[in-house]
Symmetry: C2
Subunit: 429 residues, 2 copies
Amino acid sequence: MKEVKIGIIGFGTVGAGVAANLLQNGETIARRTGVKLTLAKIADLDITTDRGIIVPPAILTTDSAALINEVDVVVELVGGTTAAKALIIQALQAGKPCVTANKALLAEHGEEIFAAAADSKADVYYEASVAGGIPVIKALREGLVANRIKRIYGIMNGTCNYILTRMEHEGLNFETILKDAQELGYAEAEPSLDIDGFDTAHKASILAALAYGEWFGMKAIHVEGIRDISLLDIKFAGELGYRVKLLAIIKQIEHDVQIRVHPTLIAKDTMLANISEVFNGVMIDGEPVGETLFYGRGAGRDATASAVVADLVDVALNLKYHAAGRVPVFRPGPQFNALTGMDEIKSRYYLRLQVKDEAGVVAQIAAILGQQRISISSFIQREAHSEANVPLLILTHEAQEKQIKAAIADFERLPVVSGKVKLIRIEDI
Amino acid sequence: MKEVKIGIIGFGTVGAGVAANLLQNGETIARRTGVKLTLAKIADLDITTDRGIIVPPAILTTDSAALINEVDVVVELVGGTTAAKALIIQALQAGKPCVTANKALLAEHGEEIFAAAADSKADVYYEASVAGGIPVIKALREGLVANRIKRIYGIMNGTCNYILTRMEHEGLNFETILKDAQELGYAEAEPSLDIDGFDTAHKASILAALAYGEWFGMKAIHVEGIRDISLLDIKFAGELGYRVKLLAIIKQIEHDVQIRVHPTLIAKDTMLANISEVFNGVMIDGEPVGETLFYGRGAGRDATASAVVADLVDVALNLKYHAAGRVPVFRPGPQFNALTGMDEIKSRYYLRLQVKDEAGVVAQIAAILGQQRISISSFIQREAHSEANVPLLILTHEAQEKQIKAAIADFERLPVVSGKVKLIRIEDI
């Protein structure tokens, strides 16, 4: 049986999970696939800390350059974009295929990494970089290869989904739940990457690259996080039949593509709206397959290891059959015309205004909407009880973002409107 | 670019869909994969009927044996298990890889077909045989290759799911909805294959084979359909927080495997319970990945074509790289000890009895449950209004099937119980 030597660089949580999986399931995998994955080396700056698994001491090293020379496949689990990039480029230049879970690296330097892979004819596989254990990269690249991709919606950050789920269920505000999530280990001490939407955007960038044949990078993506989502908006959304999710939206409309990440109102009775807690889900709408959805754990040691080891099997089989690049793991050649800027997108919108409880307010608001030719699907002014200001909710039909922005600027200039207008986009799925 | 000649046998709905996809998307697929799939031949007994697509007349033939000789890959879309089996065996013996959507054929003759494939070293791919356009075979075989499969739950028959969804939403009985579904083309004129659960069982057999390394055939599977699901049970289930679905259940408990297909009560707030209308969903619970769910259209010309063409790409890439069998498309070698018979399974149960509205009924029922050591999680007797009999609902905790069967036999002997006891299994997902 073909034996393939695996080297892991980065012995953190996921590295330990991959090592554990190879040690525990190696025999089953060999019986299923006809290749034996041997855990040959693990490199890390720290090789003394207990990672909760027992590996032969001889395979531990601090010398990642030596590891690259000694193994057949390199698993990059260093994280970050500097050392990780250098290691992957070094491995590829040595002709060694790589498996990585590093979404930030691919989102920011995918073009360079895949150019190096093409030069060396060595594979780069990255299933674990998007949606953890869910084999959505394989589904998009292979299972749906016969499809033109019309839309991709992704709930791809467990921390955000966990916080939003608990805010809705427990009626507690963002800061309280975030603090609790940090104590429980569901959110990082420095949570910005997750809650400000960047992690989701990294993943969106990778899915968009695969769907449309270009490394868009992060600049092409409009990113908003969930920091400003108030309990009030979650409550009002709920009453209107919606749930708030941090959604990555990748769409082709006619020949143009848009990529954006922002809090989004989704109808409660959709599959996506029912993805709760730390779970991830990716909906891919293809022509001709129609809507498909892929759901599971988007992070964590074991789910991520499942994806990394699946990639290792693919790479090992390619080595066995001298078939590197058999399935092009990225397929350049743009399958679209232009990127749509945020001002030009069309969406439905939820707007919340705080207005004075006095005569003529509705007329003033309606006049502005009329001027911008924004059509209203729902308009709700609540009764005032004790407060001086009352919330006014507007749900629009589809409108262009720049019209909505103009209307909001006009609203905020009205003396009857207090503070900023809250905008959340609505997606009809 | 490597060109691979595709021959389709069976020019029905799906055959036309595959032909259309190859003609429309062939160029995109070539750019994405580096192989050109050329529609070389289509064989059918009837090559004159209009299938709604235009193909060059020269590629149509009534001679399937000649087709096999002239192409690189054979797509079997004949249906049935006699001619289809002969054609696939003939193609494999000629060294031609095959792609099929034929679930009945694989469920009943998988062992023989995969033995022929192993002899000839030609691939047999079958993504479209389970859950139509959803790439769940690839996910199970490749994406989750590093996992021990603990449970698979499948809603895999669009006709049944459509009927159950409409019964619940519209409050109409089975016969009425079935008739309407037949008129709308969502159910066959001879609906038994779908509504009696056999189609779902075929698919369960294939998933189980892949998960556990043995062709179980149909005899190993307990199959019940949805014909006896009454509106009353759907209504009571709904009040208790459940929805009725026709579910395939494949489970490994300790070292033994069970495979069964039957109507099942699933809690309404689960993802599976929210798969409605003609959609399909397969939940795979693996160690270490945890729960994953794959959702989409389980049938139809275009969704099925998406799966067939994805398989064609895999086969074509294997031809390009001389890598037939690269991913073993079936992996024999049982990964379990024994099959669990239905009497031995443990489940929770919903029981509905029609009882006389008189003193002592509950005591008699409770006594029987006590004798069989069946523990009750819910016990509801409705108030009688006009009828002589009132429904008594019992939800049990986990019990062994043979205890439940014994209790039901005892219930049905009581003078206070009218007619048969209705049993629906409950699955906590």
